[in-house]
Homo-oligomer: 226 residues x 2
DNA sequence: TACTCTATTTAGGTAAGGCTAATTCGCGAG
DNA sequence: CTCGCGAATTAGCCTTACCTAAATAGAGTA
């Protein structure tokens, strides 16, 4: 049986494995992300490996097997559908859906998933702009780059913002930065310096100053892709 | 901290304590209801007693303290609000809401509870006809008697049906027995024999035969109370 | 008054999932 | 080629919540 803890590990391995260029996920990064000690992570990795849900090369890192990835995507699908649902049907704000969904995602039956999915009209993006995996376990691809990687005069549409910290999300929302908004880099100071960006396209646009680190968590797709 | 298991014990102690005439709940009945062994129940009762959530008189039974009852009622409130919500907002049928709610009830935040409550218009009865405890932890009183206890020519409105077994609920629904329906006992055979009852008040009423045991799980309030 | 029956509790054990402390491995620097 | 350092693993424990088998107590019967 797949426990709640296992689901969390699988989900996190998937996420970490897809955000950097790195092949495998290190035990340390995983432990850090899950807020457990490194030995706890090692222990769970062994279990996941025994169940053929992950491949663990000691001191080298983990990768998910197809079976493990399937489960990870199911959990992520639940999470993102719940985020949509909480926002659309229950009036949650953009920045409050994450923690609620984190608790509920492990307890959603197939039946409930179907009903929510249908009621929302089969959405493909969650409120943060992240794609929702399909019921069959396929994660839709989305070409996007972190805002931090753009140069002057480059820009596009804010696709997704790495979620998890409500205060951070509120701060960004306060300066007009949320999914769907047009942004354009005006100036990017060197040595990982801050960015000056124009937020919004029309008369209501404003100029904002953004640290490089925070800008790395905002993903932008080119406007032509819209 | 209150674990999920503790919540389940408290909820079940509350329910068992309020369905018979008995004061305290026996370890055996509790273990049976929770589908655990008697020693497991004993162990948990000790823990609950240490936390001052229950009073455990060894070999005599348990009762909840006010603190324990408060938690039990919170869990029951979550359960019943969820049942309402699943039926009203997500189109679940009357007999399918119970198990879904059983899993979700432990993971509902105050925030979510409030929103669901408001969206439903602050309901006071769940789809089975059970009263929903208030946010303050008060269970609304409802004068009702088991159908099995009525004599010939007695009757009333079906208030609630002990939930838990979907097949049973469907069976009853099939003969027209669900909350809000008028019933009248035509004949009650002695020695715990079956009841002949008239289901429904108008031209569409029908006569049904009902075992005494099953009739004990159907609660009826007098029509005048409506 | 003593016996027996059954419910309950005690004793002792397992599996998950976490922790700290100690060990080991692999890699880069000298 | 060896050393040292940091990341990862092993060793050893804890807590929660369950289990089975054995002991016990309370209630009714002889």
């Amino acid at each position: 049986m797949i426990s709640r803890a296992m689901e969390d590990y699988l989900k996190t391995i998937y996420k970490l494995g897809h955000e950097g260029a790195a092949e495998a996920v290190s035990t340390g990064a995983l432990a850090e992300a899950l807020d457990v000690s490194a030995p706890s992570a090692t222990g769970m990795l062994k279990k996941l490996a025994e169940l053929h849900l992950a491949e663990h090369n000691p001191r080298r890192g983990v990768t998910l097997t197809p079976a493990g990835e399937k489960i990870a995507l199911e959990v992520i699908r639940h999470h993102r559908l719940l985020e949509c649902y909480l926002k659309e049907a229950l009036g949650y704000s953009w920045d409050a859906v994450h923690e609620e969904a984190d608790r509920l995602e492990h307890h959603v039956s197939d039946e409930l998933e179907s009903r929510i999915d249908a009621l929302l009209g089969y959405p493909t993006l969650d409120p943060h702009g992240d794609p929702i995996p399909t019921r069959e376990g396929v994660m839709p691809a989305r070409a996007s780059r972190p805002l931090a990687a753009l140069g002057p005069d480059e820009g596009g549409i804010v696709g997704r913002v790495t979620d998890g910290d409500a205060a951070k999300l509120r701060y960004l929302a306060g300066m007009g930065l949320f999914p769907g908004v047009t942004v354009m880099v005006l100036e990017a100071l060197p040595f990982n310096g801050p960015l000056r960006v124009r937020v919004g396209a029309d008369a209501a646009s404003s100029e904002q100053l953004l640290g490089r680190e925070l800008a790395g968590e905002i993903f932008v797709r080119s406007a032509s892709e819209e």
